[in-house]
């Protein structure tokens, strides 16, 4: 079932958690709400679940307005960041809870719980208590519990936040597969962009109670709509330069900009370059580049991370090179080299007017 959020605003005292947010989640999709803490992503999730009431705006599931329905009436599965399992109940009774409170007969409960325990691959552990399970197992129980009463939506609040990296990876893949099997419209909150990109059909980037950008993961990654999104989605080098007559100017770099600022008048602009979009050369050789000193090399991992100091700007620059390229260059700390961008993104600050 689809979710529609219409101009929702939520304030906590003086703090505006959500500022006129509208969002459409298509039926059967898996959507990530991505943002740093305080961006309003969890508040939005809790409003959809009925755990918070919006000050303004409305929430619809399919075409039904549920803004004023209680959490109990909504039939929305919610998975909490710290699992919120009932500690005094066995795994079996935890999963059965949603069915028991609905007064389902024992036979039906047993059938459904068995089916779900199989789905989360915890068949043998039904008589354990949550305290006897690992973090990953608890999270799966929380998920099964949320799914037991066939909810209309599944909402997950930082579902893998409290787990270690390896388990997180596994559960992530597993959640994606699970979603492909059961197709319940799902919305999950995360601050980990990698997780959002790995799992979701669609990513919604939030900041300061507003939606900055939404779209398919590759769209958002390749075409960030704002400096914030650019910055949030991974390491980025930031340079202060100028734009004039359709050209980007940064030190002795002068690049043609296909779209930005065709005007004659010069304006300051901020350039963003991802570390893998920079190349290092031994000599400038006429290519637009920045002179820099190598500070540090970190060859651990799939790429070599190089830290340099751009001499003319006094700026630290991060570059990612393939190990082959590094070997070819024979870099060592202290070398003077030239850094050339393969791609530059520019965001112009909003023009300011003075009266």
């Amino acid at each position: 079932m689809s979710i529609t959020i219409k101009s929702v605003t939520k304030r906590f005292g003086k703090f505006t958690a959500l500022d006129n947010v509208s969002l459409e989640v298509p039926s059967g999709s898996l959507v990530a709400l991505l943002g740093s803490s305080g961006s309003g992503k969890t508040t939005l999730l809790r409003i959809i679940a009925g755990l918070e009431v919006p000050d303004v705006g409305s929430v619809l599931i399919q075409d039904e307005d549920i803004t004023h329905a209680s959490a109990q009436q909504r039939n929305v599965g919610f998975v909490f960041q710290h699992y919120a399992l009932f500690r005094h109940m066995t795994v079996y009774e935890n999963v059965a809870f949603g069915l028991r409170v609905r007064g389902r007969p024992d036979g039906q409960v047993c059938e459904r719980v068995t089916e779900l325990l199989k789905l989360i691959r915890l068949e043998g552990l039904d008589q354990r208590y949550p305290g006897q399970l690992s973090g990953g197992q608890r999270q799966r129980v929380a998920l099964a519990r949320a799914l037991a009463a066939q909810p209309r939506l599944l909402l997950l609040d930082e579902p893998f936040g409290a787990l270690d990296a390896k388990v997180r990876q596994e559960l992530r893949t597993w959640l994606r597969r699970l979603h492909d099997e059961i197709h319940v419209t799902s919305l999950f909150v995360t601050h980990d962009q990698e997780e959002a990109f790995a799992v979701a059909d669609k990513v919604v980037v939030m900041q300061g109670g507003k939606i900055e950008q939404m779209g398919a993961p590759h769209e958002v990654f390749d075409h960030p709509a704002s400096p914030f999104v650019m910055d949030f989605l991974g390491n980025v080098n930031v340079f202060q330069g100028r734009v004039q007559s359709g050209r980007l100017l940064l030190g002795n770099i002068d690049l043609a900009a296909h779209d930005a600022h065709p005007q004659e008048e010069e304006r300051p602009a901020t350039f963003y370059v991802r570390p893998h979009e920079l190349d290092i050369k031994r000599s400038a050789n006429g290519t637009p580049s920045l002179k820099a000193n190598v500070l540090h090399l970190n060859p651990a991992g799939p790429v070599t991370r190089v830290q340099l100091l751009a001499v003319d700007f006094g700026l630290t620059v991060h570059v990612e090179l393939s190990h082959e390229r590094r070997a070819e260059l024979g870099l060592s700390p202290g070398d003077t080299v030239y850094v050339a961008p393969r791609k530059l993104r520019v965001f112009l600050p909003e023009p300011e007017y003075t009266i």
Partner: protein, 274 residues
């Protein structure tokens, strides 16, 4: 060969010695003295002192009234703890500190005040007695004053557990379709059981030993409102020290047995905690 001391925490020996010394001086010696005093009686004398119909009635009243008071305290105490933890209201801190008053107040004062309030021409009694509610010089009066003493035990044991109970468990229950009543019965109360049992045990034990307040409110009529501790005092006044000690021993053994049962219950209610 010298053995290596592998204890990480130092001070086991002095700590344990002090504990044992104080336990002996404060608990074991007085109790032992009580046993020895009781042993000055022959078996028949002992039995004659502790198992008269009058004494049996007093035991029944002591345990019955304490049990009833502990149950009432549990109910009231739970409500008070709930209100103190869950709601904000003006004067909350004052209210919160008032809870401890029964700990500090001389219980004889409580007994006297209750009595003067609830007698036929007392401030409250003049309205209640015509309605058939007699809370002075009756058994229900004993339960009533013991409840006053028991409530803080429940409040102070349940309050911290309730405070520590994450709201997400309740939210989870609600989002799973549970109504408020189901949430309270199936999620909140089971989490509080161990604390409730502990508080109940403390309140019950406190009521069993209570003397000061009861002696004022009860009227101390034989076979009706005479509790076992009063019986002991009676014997003491008659300088029948052996008989007084004998009754004390019976009371002690019964209380101890009760506490063992409650302790076991408490452990049972914590069985799921890991």
């Amino acid at each position: 060969m010298a053995t290596v001391n592998r204890r990480i925490l130092p001070g086991f020996l002095p700590g344990m010695s002090y504990t044992l010394t104080y336990l002996t001086i404060l608990v074991l010696v007085p109790l032992g003295a009580c046993f020895f005093k009781a042993m000055t009686l022959s078996w028949d004398q002992f039995w004659g002192a502790v198992w008269t119909p009058r004494a049996q009635a007093a035991y029944a009243l002591t345990f019955g009234a304490s049990l009833a008071a502990a149950v009432l305290s549990t109910v009231f105490g739970l409500v008070v703890a709930w209100v103190l933890v869950r709601y904000q209201f003006p004067g909350k801190r004052l209210f919160d500190s008032l809870i401890d008053l029964p700990f500090a107040l001389p219980t004889a004062v409580a007994g006297l005040v209750y009595r003067s309030l609830y007698v036929k021409n007392g401030w409250l009694g003049q309205f209640l007695v015509p309605l058939g509610i007699e809370l002075a010089l009756t058994r229900s009066g004993i339960v009533w004053v013991l409840t006053f003493l028991g409530i803080p035990f429940i409040v102070r044991t349940v309050q911290p557990v309730l405070e520590a109970l994450e709201s997400d468990q309740e939210e989870a229950a609600a989002s799973l379709g549970a109504n408020r009543f189901q949430t309270v019965c199936r999620v909140i109360l089971p989490n509080l059981y161990p604390a409730i049992v502990t508080g109940f045990a403390l309140a019950f034990a406190r009521c069993l030993g209570e003397y000061g307040s009861v002696v004022f409110i009860a009227g101390n009529k034989q076979f009706d409102t005479e509790i076992a501790p009063i019986l002991i005092v009676n014997r003491l006044e008659e300088t029948e020290y052996g008989e007084a000690a004998a009754i004390a021993i019976v009371l002690l053994v019964m209380s101890f047995a009760m506490l063992i049962v409650i302790n076991w219950l408490e452990r049972w209610s914590r069985r799921n905690e890991h």
